[in-house]
Symmetry: C2
Subunit: 406 residues, 2 copies
């Protein structure tokens, strides 16, 4: 299957309009803080949510709205997570009905998300005015504005789109995302909104999303903290005109392939732009005795504060990698494991069968000074593999998250 | 039971001698790096070890030596962890036999521990000379020298002792410990050596140690990284003259009580002196539906990078606490949880039944500027409780662990 990366983000698929404005949710901030995405036609829709027991009010409302597997719009604000507020659900519902009214659709077809400080009541006045101004101004060129409006401490806008053919039909998937951090730091909330013009049932859309999320968004870790408001949603409006995908056929596999490219791209962008990050870390595990073990080992390494600080310091302190593998909560043989570290500057083996091997510290330093580091772990005890993405732990992470909320 | 804190560390119990010297394991360092503890009489002995699958060679050797439940000496070096070296076990055995020979005891009665860089062959020459010099120089006043010799990035020496009466006999327990960090940073290795003059069987000694470790040492977290070389050992030589404790009777309970005080003191010292720490954090959970849940919730909060950075910034960002409670891998009701934050400067409630409650930010700041912060979580859904200890996450943690190994 040929997949082509194209421009246009969430508006690359046919029939989608988007936009983003500053409505003033946080005083003394001028950043865009309200985003909308709208489909001309009704969409199959699905989403996956945080597993945190504390659920943001928008998560509760979206989950309810998506029970029927359909949606037509996304509304998302930054600056306030609308979480742990006793009036949170009520206000999230109100935001949906305001958006629905402005767009002339049903309130139950609105996906809502919020990101920001938790436990502070959300002011409805700027949102009400914002929705009234934003809804009529949505355009097919507005994807980047929407991507910008959902950003918090993100330093880079995150969007991408991929196109592929199903028979004679061109099908496109687009996405935007925000990574970890807040202007007033609070949650490492991860939000991603995906659009497509594919014709696919909501059941199959959900299957595709869950299959891909497990290997991509769920393998991203900036600081191990799982937000109360994490969400990835997808809407597909069918305008590509392909025969309806309603079973796990070849077209489904092609769709999943494209979705995985989009998701991986979003995850890499979020990892590289983690709070305070100077480096993207990718840890790939192969030869694991089970998929679960492969995932756990890759995440254990990516999550280790000691590995993350070593990478920040460009220090090939591979003992920390082996240590993090060792405390993974899974059964495997540590004695057969090889570890390689690489970047564009080359590759070194640091560990063979669980023991250190000599390497040039000079070469290691050269490799680790690059901004994208790969850690390859060969377990040599099975057929399973997994990849996790993260970033280094830096002074700026502490600065961003240690500053007082004002 | 009256427990009295006394001076003397591991030499406070009758019949123990200790010492610590600089033998030169790491070039260009002048810090003491070799410690010994010796009992005049044979001891019942027990230990608990890291659960990391990567085991330091000293752990493998000590586990073997303690299979018979007896020991008479501890030898411990800092500067090299003797881990992931193909000749590691051989060298650890050699260190034990050198120590045994110098002390005139059996090699199988030596407990060995090492802490430092992993994956670098350990030089035996300085250790051989060091043991020969140190063994004859052990004294009942040498506890602090031993405590100093096991330190790495620790900034404070950690020792304590507690005395209590069993009938007419005074019984004493002493301990030294090293916390998290290395001069050449590598592992947050936690080592603690405990001595006692109690007369207690090795089986009961093991029971007591395991019971106490679970609620103390295992509830300490500086950065979530479990070292390859963690160990807590205890030796009891019987010189207190109390009737042998060989069942779970009242005397056993009294012994466990004293051991818990000693262990808690060590853990608090290690938490307060965590790498880069400016604050000791204590998280107490009450009203949990199970002991396991209480522990998991307390540790989840103590481990959260976002909570830790907020505490560093003296920011009462309680949403992060609730978030960390929420992603704990355990079943409970988030909707009944209250959270309080306190220090010597006072107490505030920040959350009631899962929702935020208004509080004075000024008062909160005043409380959080102190160097010992208590986070109290009332789950109100059971009878179980647990406490975890940790520290804030600071620029210095990144600095200490990000610097290049040289």
């Amino acid at each position: 299957m040929n997949y082509t990366k194209i421009n246009g983000g969430v508006c690359a698929p046919k029939g989608f309009r988007a936009g983003g404005i500053h409505c003033g949710i946080r005083k003394n901030h001028t950043k865009k803080d309200l985003a909308m995405i709208f489909s001309e036609k009704p969409c199959s829709a699905a989403a996956v949510y945080t597993r945190n027991k504390v659920l943001g009010a928008p998560i509760i409302v979206t989950r309810d709205h998506l029970r029927d597997g359909t949606a037509r719009a996304v509304i998302c604000n930054s600056g306030n997570a609308n979480t742990c507020n006793s009036d949170g659900v009520e206000k999230a519902e109100l935001m949906c009905s305001l958006a629905a009214k402005a767009l002339g659709i049903d309130s139950a077809d609105v996906i809502i998300a919020s990101t920001g400080v938790i436990g502070q009541p959300i002011a409805m006045e700027p949102i009400e005015k914002g929705i009234a101004a934003l809804a009529p101004a949505l355009t097919p060129e507005g994807a980047s504005d929407a991507a910008e409006a959902i950003m918090t401490t993100d330093t880079k806008l995150k969007e991408c789109a991929v196109s592929f053919r199903l028979g004679t039909n061109a099908v496109t998937i687009g996405a935007i995302a925000k990574g970890s951090g807040m202007i007033s730091p609070n949650m490492a909330t991860m939000l991603s909104f995906i659009t497509s013009d594919a014709c696919i049932s909501s059941a199959m859309l959900g299957e595709a999303l869950r299959a891909v999320v497990d290997d991509t968004y769920n393998m991203l870790s900036v600081d191990g903290d799982t937000s109360t408001n994490d969400m990835v949603s997808i809407m597909a409006n069918g305008l590509a005109g392909n025969p309806l995908i309603d079973s796990k056929n070849e077209a489904f596999d092609a769709f999943v392939g494209a979705l995985k490219i989009v998701a991986t791209e979003m995850v890499r962008m979020m990892a590289a732009d983690g709070e305070g990050a100077t480096k993207l870390l990718q840890c790939s595990v192969t030869g694991a005795p089970s998929k679960e073990t492969a995932k756990k080992v890759a995440k254990s390494v990516i999550n280790s504060s000691l590995v993350k600080t070593a990478m920040f310091g460009a220090d090939a302190n591979w003992g920390r990698i082996l240590c993090a593998i060792g405390y993974t909560d899974a059964e495997f043989d540590i004695g057969s494991i090889d570890v390689y570290i690489s970047s564009e500057a080359g590759q070194i083996q640091v560990c063979k069968n669980g023991f250190g091997v000599p390497f040039s510290e000079e070469k290691a330093k050269e490799i680790l000074l690059r901004n994208e580091i790969l850690i390859d772990i060969l377990m040599k005890q099975g057929e399973f593999e997994a990849t996790a993405w993260g970033c280094d732990l830096t002074y700026d992470y502490v600065k961003i998250n240690g500053d007082y909320r004002t």
